[in-house]
């Protein structure tokens, strides 16, 4: 993948991304291992610990909170309907 927004997390991100892409293409897409994706979870944890620090430092965690608040209003007004929690396959 491209860089992490926090350069100090690049190494951890790279490891996780590679693990995820392998799991996704070799297992998930083939219908194997559709009940858990634990094999990348340790790498994800390490990467996310690093990333969360960076998100906080840059004030992005606050933007995320705002977005979650805004979503409720936005979806109601923009789409004229409530957001589906579990998206359904559209009827053609």
């Amino acid at each position: 993948m491209s860089q992490s927004l926090a350069p100090e997390c690049n190494e951890l991100k790279e490891r996780y991304d590679t693990c995820f892409l392998k799991w996704y293409s070799e297992k998930y897409l083939r219908g194997v291992g559709t009940t858990n994706n634990n094999e990348c979870s340790t790498m994800f944890k390490e990467y996310n610990t690093c990333l969360h620090r960076a998100l906080k430092e840059r004030g992005i965690d606050k933007l995320l909170d705002d977005a979650r608040e805004d979503n409720k209003d936005n979806d109601a007004t923009l789409m004229g309907r409530k957001k589906c929690k579990t998206p359904q396959r559209p009827e053609h």
Binding site: S2, L5, Y28, T34, N37, F44, L55, N74, P87, P90
Partner: protein
Amino acid sequence: MVLTHTTNHTYTHPFPTVTLAFFLRYCSPQLNPFASHVLSTDTIASHLDGATGRLHTTRIHLKKSRLPPAIMKLLPASLTGGAADKASYILETSVVDMREGWMATESRNLNFVGVLSVVERQMYAMPRGARAFSAGDTTDVETKVVFRSRLGERIRGRLGGGGPVQAQTALVDAENGSGGGGFLKRLGARGIQRSIETLASTKTQDQLGKSREGMMIILERLRQTGIMGVLELRKMARERSLQPAA
């Protein structure tokens, strides 16, 4: 004020490959030359629902701003973040259901929402009748983008005493400070909202074409070399970028 733009497209690639290309689309400029405006990509949440088999992913992308520099210059620093190179944080959520054969995605900007909110929703699906986990040859995608500028509404919100935020205050101050009623007031908030929405919509329609071309390049690469080939290419590109400039 809201502008909506909907397009449909059919990829001549099987659904599983298209979903993989979605995750890979900002992988590296070497792989996707149409992603050079993407500065970074991070996964903040990834969850596989064991009961439904659905994969829920949340990512944050940092992209160079879509708003023209002329507009960015007019806006107070408190709204734009004051940075010289204006970049947007984009929140992307996606749900993949391989059993039922669909992927729903949503992308929205996290900053500048007081100026313009862009929400893009995509629904990728196997053609009707195709069976899950069997590779049909095509994938349908519907893209719906909603543009909304809330510039004026925010000002009204403040004057009405409802939920002021710092950005609103700064905007009103900027208006008052420029004398003669201010630039924004002279043009009218609605006119400005409309202009911003139209500009962004036009730019986005260009961008949608490019984003599709980027997806196609990745899809072709996946067809030729498979995922391992793509991972190898990405690794090489990364190593090259890490080498110090001579």
